[in-house]
Symmetry: C2
């Protein structure tokens, strides 16, 4: 803990703080995280952080923006076709979640207004519009897809890796009977299958022409 004397620069800035915070949460978990621990990690006084970031809430916002930026940096360009674009987004988003499982809940809980998030949505909408899908389906697609992605990934990350929770077969015969089919709980194969299910739902509504639901 070598503190410098007051006034000397520690080279802090918003991005550097956010990246250090992400690394700390990845290592120690979200509930152990705090401004003081982060300051200790940066070898800095806790209050120094407040000169770059307004409060803890803003710090958490900066962290979620940082992981989104990291994701888009590695991503390259999306493929052609609206369904392929959606799958491409979904896969990269899943990879982000597995790379920073402790940070991911922040993305879900906080409203996403970072440019990098809006850009991804804009690409999806653009691909769907050029494919000629009904406007109503296009407008609903982001909420439908990211609703699922957020809820699903949150659930899978919270459980211990690789195993679905087990239940009493006598009390819940239906649940128990399908349990063997959940052997791939949390795998990429399951993820792709469920994403395709959601996309199939959008496709089915597009096929009605008006974009209204079937029933």
């Amino acid at each position: 803990m070598a503190r410098r004397t007051q006034g000397t620069s520690a080279g802090l800035d918003r991005g550097k703080i956010a990246r250090a915070a992400v690394a700390l949460v990845d290592r120690d978990g979200l509930d152990r995280f705090g401004v003081r621990r982060l300051a200790q990690e940066l070898e800095v006084d806790p209050m120094s952080i407040y000169h770059h970031i307004k409060g803890k809430a803003a710090l958490l916002d900066a962290m979620s923006e940082a992981v989104l930026v990291e994701m888009m940096a590695d991503a390259g360009d999306p493929p052609a076709g609206w369904a392929e674009t959606a799958r491409w987004i979904a896969r990269h988003y899943r990879e982000l979640a597995y790379r920073h499982p402790e940070v991911f809940p922040l993305l879900v809980t906080r409203a996403q207004t970072a440019p990098v998030a809006l850009t991804a949505l804009d690409r999806l909408i653009g691909a769907m519009r050029t494919a000629g899908l009904p406007d109503r389906v296009v407008a609903d697609a982001p909420m439908t897809l990211f609703g699922f992605l957020n809820g699903y990934l949150l659930a899978v990350l919270n459980g211990q890796p690789g195993t679905a929770p087990s239940v009493d077969p006598a009390a819940y015969p239906g649940l128990a009977s399908v349990a063997p089919l959940q052997h791939d709980y949390g795998t990429a194969a399951e993820f792709d299958r469920l994403v395709d299910t959601v996309l199939a739902g959008l496709d089915a509504r597009a096929a009605t022409g008006t974009g209204d639901p079937l029933t």
Copy 2:
């Protein structure tokens, strides 16, 4: 703050504590919530709560169980047909979320092993099996549906009620162009439409016979 003398009974039990905690969070918000504030509300010493509930994490578990129990108490019996059952679950779950918006994040974040939650899933699975849907689709349905429900409701509840977040039209033309169609952001109509989209996806997979995705 009329404390009783040591030893006298305050009539505490797990359910009563959980219901008081839910009421407190509904009123003051989740981040203002704490064991000490809850104790003050119950006119009780903070440590008394620990004789009934092991720690703060267990307290949060008890709260999410309490709201689920409340939901099922008002629910009645599910209708016939798997899609109707799914919609019935979805609507009651949404009502729960809007009745306890500050508590809802707890449901999403924590693994659901309460009997009342498992019962609802078991009913859905039973309805799908008797409808003759492929096992694979049946097995995937809970994760698909609740993934969407959790993610969607979390997003809608976090935004301010009634309005979708607005963006710069020049920077994100696609997003801006569909913005007018999101006038019903957060309404029951939008919710029903998106739930039907997800159900349509499950139905589409069932129609292939094997339950495999289309593409």
